[in-house]
Symmetry: C3
Subunit: 144 residues, 3 copies
């Protein structure tokens, strides 16, 4: 098992997958922060007796979190399989870095409600990166 | 690392996991398509100045996407571990193919709102396939 | 490939990852049970002709499921990478067991609406466990 962690490709994947998952995890406390600062927009009655309501800022963070879930899961699964298809390390690093960068830009664009196409473009870049890795996995695996 | 990708079992898992994740990724542009064609049902104020509203068709695609997330994540995690328990290749292929097939039928049933039990049945078949793999993983791993 | 499954660390991860994913999968039939028992709170018109409505209990199970998705995915990804960094087996088992235990307590606290901080605390314990594993992955992988 130690062999795998002495492999540069696996290390590179581990690094970027962990960074982007940590970024995703950060959305949960951020939602909590918005819930508290935006006049108590809670969903659970045991958290706040007085009122249960939605708040546009809280809902925005939640949609951003959901978008992270949908896209980062695809990246993690396909990226892990891709790492085993034996691509060039530099090509793989490029894929991982572009994806992780695109997700950070996506989050900033989403939370600050920057004018489009900043959010849409960063989302598309992440999708294209994942498709590019999926293409390599499929061309490798379809020989089965 | 190249060893793993010359392993038929890992290749089979890679192929079906990638196909089903790509299917899941396809739900996002489909949501966008419905948002545009269904009289601008957007969630973010920067996307459409005039109105923010929900639309039954858009919400349907989103629920289908959410159901994919919940079920495909379980399959990917348990299927990967299952591939390492050393099942027969034909048994493993059967599991992977039945699961992936059930999710495609589920999506079609959901989006076209086919009469039940088409959607419910395809969902249950996917769940049973995942349970069957989880059972093997647990019987292998519980010897620990 | 059989080598990996004769590795105690990988077996330990497989066991706890499978248990916690099965726990997450259990939320879906539970939602269905609440939908049926809580006066038909369905989301899809083909499931119930008469009425489409939300119900506080059903929404509570759904939020709990969503929280599982967000947290268990992070654990599975980071836990798998962590297992390959060569930690002590006892340390790794402690991480896996604390995480899985915290999620079971979280689910019970959530569904029974126990007074805070039971739900919040169990959530935080799971997050800290995941962070602790992510820290080890990053310190291993950042040497790249």
């Amino acid at each position: 098992m130690a062999d795998l962690m002495s492999n540069d490709m696996f290390l590179a994947f581990s690094k970027y997958a962990t960074i982007v998952v940590l970024k995703m995890m950060f959305m949960a406390p951020l939602t909590g922060y918005f819930r508290i600062t935006r006049k108590g927009a809670f969903s659970n009655s045991e958290d706040r007796k007085k009122m249960l309501q939605t708040n546009p800022d809280v809902e925005r963070v939640r949609r951003c979190h959901q978008n992270d879930l949908e896209n980062i899961i695809s990246f993690v699964v396909i990226g892990l399989l891709y790492a085993f298809t034996g691509p060039d390390l530099s090509t793989a690093l490029l894929h991982f870095q572009v994806f992780v960068g695109s997700r950070f830009i996506h989050t900033v664009s989403y939370l600050l409600a920057l004018p489009q196409p900043s959010r849409g473009l960063s989302w598309v870049v992440g999708i294209i990166t994942t498709f590019s890795m999926a293409y390599r996995v499929l061309t490798t695996a379809l020989f089965l």
